[in-house]
Symmetry: C2
Subunit: 82 residues, 2 copies
């Protein structure tokens, strides 16, 4: 068994409004960052998984996402194992 | 000028407790995910930047982090431009 690190990004679905991102976008513009647009804000989760292989670790991370870490109605996730 | 995408991770400093991560850690254990440990939860921010080069885009993203997106007392950030 080895210890793998999973990096999980949970982001609002692209079809949905992201009020937090919109608010930060407006704030950045007020601060003079006119070159910035299209901000979206989600969660970045890192965790360690004890598993026999990277594939098994990814499967555990997927299960954890589906059972707790993301809301399928509003969010999508991506997992990178290292 | 091109449009670059910045992926920014804002995470709690490793020396600090992460109560949200701790709570999720405990919840995952209750759900049977004993192989998971060391959860830390931060923010994942994506944004578009109009800039002449990737270096300039990264500089703009750094400035935005320092002025608004992260709290130096409690958080660290990393930026990837694509």
């Amino acid at each position: 068994m080895s210890l793998y690190t999973a990096h999980i990004n949970v982001m609002p679905l692209t079809e949905l409004l992201d009020p937090q991102g919109k608010a930060v976008n407006d704030s950045l513009h007020k601060l003079g960052f006119q070159a910035i647009q299209g901000i979206r804000i989600g969660k970045h989760i890192t965790l360690q998984i004890e598993a026999a292989s990277a594939e098994e670790a990814k499967q555990v991370a997927e299960d954890a996402c589906k059972k707790l870490l993301y809301n399928a109605v509003m969010e999508q996730y991506e997992i990178v194992i290292s």
